[in-house]
Symmetry: C2
Subunit: 190 residues, 2 copies
Amino acid sequence: MTVRQTDTKEEILRLGTEFIQVYGYNAFSYADISKELDIKNAAVHYHFPGKEDLLAGIIDQYIQRYKELGTKINTPGMTAKQKLDIFISRYTDLCEQNKICIIGSVCSDYNTMPESVKAKLGELIEMVLGMVEKVLQQGKRSGELNFPETARVKSLLIMTNLAAGVQLARITGKKDYIAICKSIIDQIST
Amino acid sequence: MTVRQTDTKEEILRLGTEFIQVYGYNAFSYADISKELDIKNAAVHYHFPGKEDLLAGIIDQYIQRYKELGTKINTPGMTAKQKLDIFISRYTDLCEQNKICIIGSVCSDYNTMPESVKAKLGELIEMVLGMVEKVLQQGKRSGELNFPETARVKSLLIMTNLAAGVQLARITGKKDYIAICKSIIDQIST
DNA sequence: AGAAATACTTACTACTTAGTAAGTTACTTT
DNA sequence: AAAGTAACTTACTAAGTAGTAAGTATTTCT
């Protein structure tokens, strides 16, 4: 039962996530993190020996957060539409902060990553897609939502719209992202 | 009327494009290019003084190619569906070579780029979206295609499906990309 | 109180990065 | 034939990169 002496490790994870979302994985260095936190780069290496370890830690944290979201979503009395809105709002938040989804960001550099990280990334994606699929399935069964595709394929369509939507918004502006979100909702509404 | 002494410049552009599509913009160096072409890194700097110039050249070439595609597409006797298939096949080719769209790739590193490159990227995207929009409009008018959204929004939806689809395929496999393509076609078919 | 673990800093190394200045070769123009 | 230009190479620099070994202060365990 340690009391918590430091939150340096969590700050490193926070900053690492932010840098990936804002500048990309191969565009930031341990020096960027240490400068920002006013510590030495060796301190970053202490918590995460290599940059790959940091990336693995960031993805693990992401997986953890989505697991918590899954628990939250399984609260009874929530409609499928409300659940889906929670997923969409995650991307809307990113868009408003001029960030992009770490999955999309890391995907560009995917081929420069070790197998261990690739596996973790696969786990994260399958988890998110699975969660959205379940929500869509629930909505379809209850008659709340309507779409011609299978729930799996529809989750692929929606998630690709959102992921590339925030990327596009960086270049063409937020109005395009907003239009995409509106269409996603319209498409599945009965 | 120069005869063409060298194709080094074009080879650099070709390799640069490939590196961006395979590893990402901030993950390759001038040394990677010079090694591959068996020249010195100074030779790369001769043709493209800075990495930003190389990126600008790559995007310019992409814009040029899409312009040529636009001309090709304006050939009479081509259905809207055939035209759209040409756009889709570009992404399918990428997917098969385990590459991703340069727009999506570069987007991760967008905030590390100079304004001149950002502007070029905007030009490229608006051009592609505009072309797809026109094709969709034509198809809708002629009754060949059917969709509830505006042509502009539908082009956003389709292009985000494709762009993120090839990204996703890297991680979860090509079957997901294929399912996405099938759905795109199904959605707009009358 | 002493030992051990935690969370660092100091000080460094080996390597890679983009980038440049000056020289070389070969072809083209006048 | 001379001058100029294009397309390089040679040889380098300054800055940044990930990463490490050894030391220090502080807390925790026994």
